[in-house]
């Protein structure tokens, strides 16, 4: 869509070139950095011709907290709590990228149960992130209620997270080679209950929004993204999938245990704002599908079952020791618990933990797209370099080109549909 398409009026007056007569002087409007709907501190220098955007420049860096420099000043473990702040809406993903980078460099093997718990928490996190997007995106379009619905449902997931991590948003739960603690007894049932409860909510939201004429009028055919533009700026995540490119690292480069799980990658057709909305709604359902399978497949099952097994093995070890004391021989070796869910031996002192020299670039499919963590270790207790490749960073880079020729009031719809979160852009 070019500028002339938008400005061409419906009624033609004979003898008068409306286009020429209405062509006004350019007006530079500064949007931000403190703008209620920029989802953070983003400044957009916009040149307008009437209501049509002629030029746009994004100015970022207002939220730059030098996260990458911080990584070079503290030990590997001390850096972990700050990762939550790199991207606070889906911080499990950043943790996963960071923790796997260390694990790959050090060659730590992670028990399968840990990977499954990581997968469940990450997918739940995807739902919270998409829900927040759903609420704020419709708020940008002028609908107030979805925001409240979305936040109510997010709270249900936060309760689930709080059970195991102790925090609602800043989890800091993953550790090198494992987790901070096992899940609590009955936690899987809570997740299962959520999975049964949530689809009805999603149905309701889709009934409210999907065929809503106002939403459809404002979103269909707007902000078109195609594969070329995605490659030009590095746009990823639901944005590239809405453009019809099934690029999903969970499918193409499976990490964690995604290769054992069945799920589809929803793709759009046109690549407009409406498609991006539809893709995200479908992704929430896929996430639920993944979680359901993961709950069924998790090695060891509920935490109470694992605890029973642990106690049984401990009792056997005790008995063997007691017997050895009586007979004066070496205690008989007790068969260990399944290594899939028990992390035995090589315990790590986290505070002083240092992986050997090496480097890794781990990529994760975060709710916003491709998240990368480039880590260089030089064998000292502090990382030589940690670089975050935030999905929002590249997604935002495409906004100025997307906006050229669009109406100024459509800015919030297009920008909202990209799902950009500023702390991830500025780091």
């Amino acid at each position: 869509m070019t500028a002339t398409d938008v400005t061409t009026p419906q009624i033609q007056i004979p003898g008068v070139s409306v286009e020429q007569d209405t062509d006004t002087e350019d007006l530079v409007v500064n949007i931000g950095p403190q703008h209620p709907s920029t989802h953070g501190v983003l400044r957009l220098i916009t040149t307008l011709n009437g209501e049509v955007v002629k030029e746009m420049e994004a100015v970022i860096g207002y939220l730059h907290r030098s996260k990458e420099k911080m990584a070079e000043g503290v030990s590997y473990f001390q850096y972990q709590p700050t990762i939550d702040r790199v991207e606070y809406l889906s911080s499990f993903y950043d943790h996963y990228a960071y923790v796997t980078a260390v694990e790959k460099i050090a060659g730590l093997k992670v028990p399968k149960r840990v990977e499954y718990i990581r997968m469940i928490t990450m997918e739940l996190n995807r739902i919270t992130s998409h829900l927040l997007w759903f609420g704020t995106f419709l708020l940008d379009l002028g609908a107030t209620s979805p925001f409240f619905y979305a936040f109510r449902d997010r709270e249900e997931i936060f309760k689930i997270f709080e059970d195991i991590t102790g925090a609602r948003m800043m989890y800091n739960y993953y550790r090198f080679g494992g987790l901070n603690n096992d899940i609590t007894p009955g936690w899987l049932d809570k997740v299962r209950y959520f999975c049964d409860w949530f689809p009805d909510r999603l149905d309701e939201y889709e009934a409210i929004v999907n065929k809503n004429p106002i939403v459809m009028d404002r979103t269909i055919g707007l902000g078109l993204i195609d594969r070329e533009l995605c490659m030009k700026y590095g746009v990823t995540g639901p944005n590239i999938r809405a453009a019809g490119v099934p690029m999903d690292l969970r499918k193409t480069n499976p990490y964690c245990c995604y290769d054992e799980i069945e799920f589809d990658v929803p793709v759009g057709e046109r690549g407009d704002v409406y498609d991006r909305y539809i893709v995200r709604m479908k992704e929430m359902r896929e996430s639920l599908r993944i979680i359901r399978q993961a709950i069924d497949k998790i090695p060891g099952g509920d935490a109470a079952e694992v605890e029973k097994l642990r106690q049984a093995v401990a009792a056997k070890e005790e008995a063997a020791k007691a017997k050895a004391k009586e007979t004066g021989e070496k205690p008989e070796p007790v068969p260990p618990i399944n290594p899939d869910f028990e992390f035995k031996g090589q315990k790590i002192n986290l505070m002083t933990y240092k992986p050997p020299a090496g480097e890794a670039y781990t990529t994760v499919e975060s709710p916003r797209g491709l998240l990368g963590c480039y880590m260089i270790s030089d064998g000292t207790p502090k990382a030589a370099r940690v670089k975050w490749r935030g999905a929002s960073f590249s997604n935002l880079a495409a906004l100025p080109e997307l906006m050229i020729g669009q109406l100024y009031p459509d800015l919030m719809a297009i920008f909202g549909s990209l799902d950009v979160i500023m702390p991830e852009v500025d780091r």
Partner: protein
């Protein structure tokens, strides 16, 4: 638990089991899949072996990097069309620009390392326009100058910032800053 001695210093021993796949390739960093392909097409690169994840790393001289990048993008075998990120790295003696490129079709990635020649590196924007903001960021934080970049300005730091914060020898002593006044 059965091996308490193993618990104190496990990670120093731990790396040994990791490289089983790496060792054969790392021995005399032999060129991997992409390195061989590039050599067949007359582009000599410096094979650096795979990284911990298994991604092939190649070192390329600054004057050759544009040709190598163009080949990787246009070749029907590699199809490296998606630039994931550009990271500056400070090795104290020299600085390096590291490109991680991914192929949406073949799902493979490659890491291209370019040693900056006196902090100068050719911009890869003609090949991968996605490098725009990433290279600006590396310039902003490391002072690597990307020759040929159309709009090389600071991105994250304020425009009047002095110095390049992510350099190892960076000292924040700008007298204009309030906390440096005393």
């Amino acid at each position: 638990m059965s091996e308490p001695t193993n618990e104190n210093a496990p990670e120093n021993k731990e790396p040994a089991p990791n490289p089983p796949q790496e060792t054969p390739e790392e021995k005399g960093p032999e060129p991997g899949e992409f390195g061989k392909l590039l050599a067949e097409n007359g582009l000599t690169v410096d094979p650096l072996g795979p990284d911990a994840v298994g991604v092939e790393m190649i070192g390329v001289a600054p004057d050759k990097v544009l040709d190598v990048a163009k080949f990787l993008r246009d070749s029907q075998i590699t199809k490296m069309d998606f630039l994931m990120s550009v990271s500056g790295v400070d090795h104290k003696e020299y600085r390096e620009s590291v490109y991680h490129v991914y192929s949406v079709d073949t799902h493979k990635s490659i890491c291209i390392k370019v040693k900056a020649d006196n902090d100068h590196v050719p911009s890869l924007m003609p090949v991968w326009p996605a490098a725009d903001w990433h290279e600006r960021e590396a310039f902003d934080l490391f002072g690597i100058i990307y020759d040929g970049h159309p709009d090389l300005r600071r991105l994250l730091m304020p425009v009047d910032w002095i110095g390049y914060p992510l350099r190892k020898d960076y000292k924040q002593d700008d007298p204009r800053l309030v906390w440096n006044e005393r």
